[in-house]
Amino acid sequence: MNLESFLKSLHKLFMRLKSQPVEFILFFCASFSIVILLLMFLFVVKEGSLAFVRLGVQLIFGQRWETNSDLYGGFPLVYGSLMVVSGALVISVPLGICTSIFIAEVLPFQLRDPVKSIIELLASIPSVIYGFIGATFLAPLIASIFELHSGATALTASLILAIMVLPTIVGVSGETISAVPRDYKEAALALGASKWQIIRNVVLPFSKSGMLASVMLGFGRAIGETVAVLMVAGNVAMVPTPPWNYLAPVYPVTAVIAMQMGEAAVGSLEYSALFGLGSILFIITFVVNTIADVIVRRGPVTRGVQL
C-alpha cells in the first residue's frame, strides 16, 4: 500500500468518524495502542538522549560499567543478556517445538486440552515466583552440583528463563501446527502416508514459518525478562572469564535497569544511561516482534494465526 492511498483512506475514515460518534469513540480506543507505542518510544529515548550524546557507542561497546567512577560501558551487560538468552533458547527451543508437535499430532485427543491448560498455567506464573523458586531451590542445587560458592550464575538464569519462555514457544508453534489445513493431512493419509510421514512432509513444511516466529517471540520475551533473571543471575557487571563460562555470574541489561533506577538521580548520566539501555531494549524487542509478525503473515498457512 503506498502513502497516497493510505492518506486517502485515512481521510475517508475521518469523514466517516465525524458523522458517527459511536464509531469515533471505538476508533479512539483502537488507535490507543499506536499512540502509547509512540509516546513510549519518544519518552524513553528522550530520557536516554543525554547518554546517547555523551557516551555514543560506548553505551553498548564500552568495557566497564562502574557506577562509582561514572563509567557506563554497557558491553558486559549486553553480553550477559545475550549469554543468558541464548542459553535459555538452546534449552527451550527444541523442548518447546517437540512438545508442540507431540501435543498437536500424537497426544490422544482427550488429553490435549488438559495438557495445554497446564502449559498455559505455567505461562501465567509471575516472574517473581520464578525468581523466588530459582533463588531458593535452583541456585543452591547448581551450587552443590558444580561446587560453587554461589549458585547465582548465567546457567541458573538460563534455566529459569528457559522454563519461562517454553509456554510462549509451545503456544505459538502449536497454533500454527493446528492451522495446517486438514485436507492436506487427509490427502497424505489417503496416499498411505504414516503418521510420522505426515508430520515430516506435511505438517513441518507448513508450520516452519510459525515455528520460526515462535522462536523470535521467545527471544523477545527472554531478552526483556527482568525480575526472575535479576534474582538468579548473580549481578556482577563483568564478562565472565573465559567468555563461555556459564558458571559465572552475569548482570543482564534488564537487571541493571531494575536495580539501579532507584538510586540514579533524575537527569544524571547514570539515569540517562539506564534509559538509553531501556530504549535499545525497546527497539530490539520491537524489531524482533515485527519480524515475527511479518513471518507469520507471509507464512503459507499461518495468515490467520494470532500471536
Binding site: 492511498s5 513510549m40 523466588f132 525480575v227 524487542t285
Partner: protein, 279 residues
C-alpha cells in the same frame, strides 16, 4: 513392521519434552506446596507493620481493580472496532501490528515509560494511579486480542437478524454480538488480570513502597503489593526463603486461581454455545 517400531521410537522421543514440561510444572507445584505447612495463615489479616500481609493483599487488589477499570473498557471497545467497524485493511493492519508490539514490550521498559510519563511528566508521582495506568498498558493487548477472538466467533447472522429488524449498527452489535461474545470477553479480561497480578518490574518505580502506614488514602499515594514485597525482601534485604514463603504462596494462589478460572470458563462456554465450536 520395522517402520512402525521406528515411528514409535520417534514419537517416544517427541513425547519426552512434553513430559519434561509436565515435570517442571509438578516440581514447581510441589516446591510451593511443601511450604504450605510453614505458612502462618493468620498473617493474611494482620497489618504489615506487625509482620502480616494484609495491606499487600489489599494493595494488590486495588492495583488490579484500577487497572482493569481502565484497560477493560478501552480494550473491549477497541476489539469491537477492529472486528465490526474497521474499514480499511491497511489501517487495521497497522493497529494490529501496534497491539502485537505493545504486547511484546518488556515490562521493565513499560515501567521506565510509566515512571517518566505518568510519574514525572503527568506529575502523578509514585502513586496508585501511576500503577493503574502502567498495568493497564500491559493488560490492554491481552484484552483486545481475547475479545477480538470472542467477537469473531459469533456468527454474523446474529447481527444481521437485528439489522434486518431495523436496528442501528451499534444497537445490533450491543444487543446481539456482544452478549453472545460476553463469556469470551470476560475470559480475556480475567487473563489480563492474571497476567499483571504478579507483575513486578512495571510497578517497581511507578507505584510501590515496601512499607507504609496502612492502606493508601487517596489514589495519589503509593501502595504495598505482594509481588513488590517478595522481590525487595529477597533481592535487597536477603530475607531467608522461609520468611517470605507465605507471600510467594499467596501470590501464586491468586494468579493461578485467576488463570485457572479463565481456562475453565473458556472450556465451559465453548461447550455451552454450539456455534462457537465451528471455527
Amino acid at each position: 513392521m520395522s517402520g512402525q517400531t521406528g515411528e514409535r521410537v520417534i514419537f517416544a522421543i517427541l513425547g519426552v519434552p512434553m513430559l519434561i514440561c509436565m515435570l517442571i510444572f509438578s516440581w514447581i507445584l510441589s516446591l510451593l506446596l511443601t511450604g504450605i505447612g510453614s505458612v502462618r495463615w493468620e498473617l493474611l489479616t494482620v497489618s504489615a507493620l506487625q509482620g502480616g500481609m494484609f495491606e499487600m493483599i489489599v494493595g494488590t487488589i486495588y492495583l488490579l481493580l484500577g487497572a482493569t477499570a481502565i484497560a477493560g473498557p478501552v480494550g473491549i471497545l477497541a476489539a469491537i472496532y477492529l472486528v465490526e467497524y474497521a474499514p480499511s485493511r491497511g489501517l487495521t493492519r497497522i493497529i494490529d501490528q501496534a497491539i502485537n508490539n505493545l504486547a511484546g514490550v518488556p515490562s521493565i521498559v513499560i515501567g521506565l515509560f510509566g515512571y517518566t510519563f505518568f510519574c514525572r511528566h503527568l506529575r502523578l508521582g509514585v502513586s496508585l494511579t501511576a500503577g493503574w495506568l502502567t498495568l493497564a498498558l500491559m493488560m490492554l493487548p491481552i484484552i483486545i486480542r481475547g475479545s477480538e477472538e470472542a467477537l469473531r466467533m459469533v456468527p454474523a447472522s446474529f447481527k444481521e437478524a437485528a439489522l434486518a429488524l431495523g436496528a442501528t449498527r451499534w444497537k445490533a452489535i450491543s444487543s446481539t454480538t456482544l452478549p453472545a461474545a460476553a463469556p469470551g470477553v470476560v475470559t480475556s479480561v480475567i487473563l489480563g488480570i492474571a497476567r499483571v497480578a504478579g507483575e513486578t518490574a512495571a510497578i517497581l518505580f511507578t507505584s510501590c513502597v515496601l512499607i507504609t502506614r496502612g492502606l493508601p488514602r487517596s489514589p495519589l499515594e503509593p501502595v504495598m503489593a505482594l509481588s513488590y514485597n517478595l522481590f525487595v525482601k529477597i533481592v535487597a534485604l536477603g530475607t531467608p526463603a522461609q520468611k517470605v514463603f507465605g507471600v510467594a504462596l499467596v501470590l501464586f494462589m491468586i494468579v493461578t486461581s485467576l488463570s485457572l478460572s479463565a481456562i475453565l470458563l473458556r472450556i465451559h462456554y465453548r461447550k455451552g454455545q454450539p456455534w462457537l465450536m465451528i471455527r
